[in-house]
């Protein structure tokens, strides 16, 4: 197996998942992943492949996000539409969409550094790698993650509770 194939086979699924979670769109995630691998192939030898790939992908996301805020607005619009649709009669698909909407809003409520640390950790990056990508001390990654996980869970629970309340109000 060539280096190219190994690199792709090893990291592509995790990178696409990471990007999908960050961006909320699979096509966009695959575009960024593709661009990341193109750059990796151009780069040649990488000292720390996983860190390099996730760092480049993160930077590409950041640059893209700066350029086009409309995407976020559109995602927020979709979430609002899903909320409205909920009143009419939920089904499994809609329930899943609502869960995803709650999760997205919870994730978006985190500070950028916390969000990135959480998503990178979920893809199995270890603390030194996360520290390198975020430019923070390795010793502070645990604190960053604990804060991110707590905030994510609390915000998500609040979203779910608010949704349930809206459902009750609509029913009464």
């Amino acid at each position: 197996m060539s280096d190219t194939e190994r690199l792709f086979t090893t990291y592509h699924p995790a990178l696409v998942r990471y990007l999908t979670r960050r961006l909320g769109d699979r096509d966009w995630a695959e575009d960024i992943a593709q661009e990341t691998f193109v750059r990796a192939l151009r780069q040649g030898e990488l000292v720390n492949e996983r860190s390099w790939l996730f760092a480049v992908a993160s930077n590409l996301v950041r640059d893209e996000a700066r350029k086009d805020i409309r995407r976020r607005e559109h995602l927020a619009l979709l979430a609002a539409e899903a909320r409205d649709a909920h009143v009419e009669g939920p089904d499994v698909v809609l329930e899943r969409a609502l869960d995803a909407g709650d999760a997205r809003r919870a994730l978006d409520s985190l500070a950028e550094r916390d969000r990135q640390a959480l998503l990178l950790r979920e893809e199995g990056l270890d603390y030194p790698e996360i520290a390198e990508i975020l430019g923070i001390a390795a010793g502070s990654v645990g604190t960053t993650l604990s804060r991110a996980r707590r905030r994510l869970a609390e915000t998500y629970e609040a979203q779910v509770a608010a949704r349930a309340q809206r459902g009750q109000n609509a029913a009464s």
Binding site: M1, S2, T4, E5, F8, T9, H12, R17, T20, R21, G24, D25, R26, D27, W28, E30, D31, F37, V38, R39, L41, R42, Q43, G44, L46, W52, V56, N59, L60, D63, E64, K67, D68, R70, R71, H74, L75, L78, R96, D99, A100, D102, A103, A106, L107, L118, R121, E122, D126, Y127, V141, G142, L145, S146, R147, R149, R150, L152, A153, Y156
Partner: protein, 357 residues
């Protein structure tokens, strides 16, 4: 007993503490109920976070506004890049037409209506985009220049075949001489500088990638160097053509231009003329690089950015896309198909004639 440290507990649960530190936390958790409670809560947060994030994996594709994903790179282009591309396209198109029109010294000019007349839109006199810096209409004109390019591409083959068929005896061009690839070459010349500019602009825009990364800077330098080489080759080819045109027979001029175009491909795409070129418009058969099995999919070079050729399916109905780069003399890349649940495979590619399998 120290108070529970949440960061330390998460690091311990994640298995990221050195052995001595992990043992110390373990002792604290065993001995102190406050630490044990904090660990239980942290375990819950870790599990909840993973579950919440997993909900994000079920997002549909294509939820973005139409065009925003597919044409993102086009949106990135600043007006001056579009204007520069338009100028190159128009100059290239005009050159093509001028080379195609029979020289006045040839008496047996075919009387049949030749589609050359369909291309006056490329005449410099009707092209305000040639001065984009001073023209406020440069931006709106750029897309129509792209339309013009498509018109040229569409109308050129009939021009070539009609001219060659009618003028062959007069011009003493051998009947079995391969048809020149000028339309594709011109297109490539027109598109490559714009693509290189866009690539460089992209690289600069991705400052986060470049900053602190010597590799990215090196890639930037290589991209710049390639563009400079490409410009030099273009200038040389243009100078050769200009010098030769008045005295050269038409067939010779075409041959020279073909050679120049081939040289350009070698410089622009691979950096090594001996390597097999990536060509916009050419077709490639895809082979699964792991199993070496032919996929039966033929892709056409759609767009080239630096040394990467982006591919579109030869059969437009096939839901596939991909890209290849040249590595160690082999075209390697990725093929994405949506036919069976969005599969992605690593592929090698080989140039083939553009015929639907």
């Amino acid at each position: 007993m120290p108070l529970p440290d949440e960061g330390l507990i998460h690091a311990w649960l994640d298995g990221q503490l050195p052995p001595e530190e992990a043992e110390r936390v373990e002792r604290l958790v065993s001995a102190d109920p406050a630490w044990a409670a904090a660990v239980a809560e942290a375990r819950g947060l870790v599990a909840a976070s993973s579950r919440i994030l997993a909900a994000l994996d079920a997002v549909p594709s294509g939820v973005l506004p139409a065009g925003s994903t597919k044409s993102r790179s086009a949106h990135r282009l600043p007006w001056w890049t579009k204007a520069a591309a338009a100028v190159v396209i128009i100059v290239g198109g005009s050159t093509l037409v001028m080379q195609r029109v029979p020289a006045p010294t040839i008496t047996e000019v075919p009387k049949a209506p030749v589609p050359v007349a369909n291309v006056p839109v490329t005449s410099p006199a009707t092209s305000p985009v040639t001065s984009p810096a001073t023209s406020p209409t440069a931006l709106p004109v750029a897309p129509s220049a792209a339309e013009t390019r498509r018109d040229i591409a569409k109308s050129t083959p009939p021009v070539a075949s009609a001219t060659t068929a009618k003028a062959a005896p007069v011009m003493a061009v051998p009947a079995n001489q391969p048809q020149p690839q000028m339309p594709a070459s011109i297109r490539e010349r027109a598109e490559a500088p714009a693509a290189a500019l866009a690539q460089r602009q992209e690289s600069r825009a991705a400052g986060g990638v470049a900053s602190g990364s010597a590799g990215a800077l090196q890639a930037q330098r290589v991209a710049d160097q390639r563009m400079d080489m490409q410009r030099a080759a273009e200038q040389q080819a243009g100078a050769q053509r200009d010098a030769a045109a008045p005295v050269m027979a038409k067939g010779e001029a075409q041959s020279t231009m073909n050679q120049a175009a081939k040289a350009l491909v070698g410089v622009a795409v691979t950096g090594a003329p001996a390597a097999p070129p990536l060509t916009v418009g050419a077709c490639y058969a895809m082979r699964d690089s792991r199993t070496s099995a032919a996929t039966g999919i033929v892709m056409r070079g759609e767009k080239q950015v630096a040394d990467t050729l982006f591919l579109a399916p030869l059969r437009p109905s096939l839901p596939a896309r991909g890209w290849v780069v040249l590595r160690d003399g082999v075209l390697r890349g990725v093929l994405t198909t949506e036919a069976e649940g969005r599969g992605m495979v690593l592929v090698t590619a080989a140039a083939v004639p553009c015929t639907t399998p």
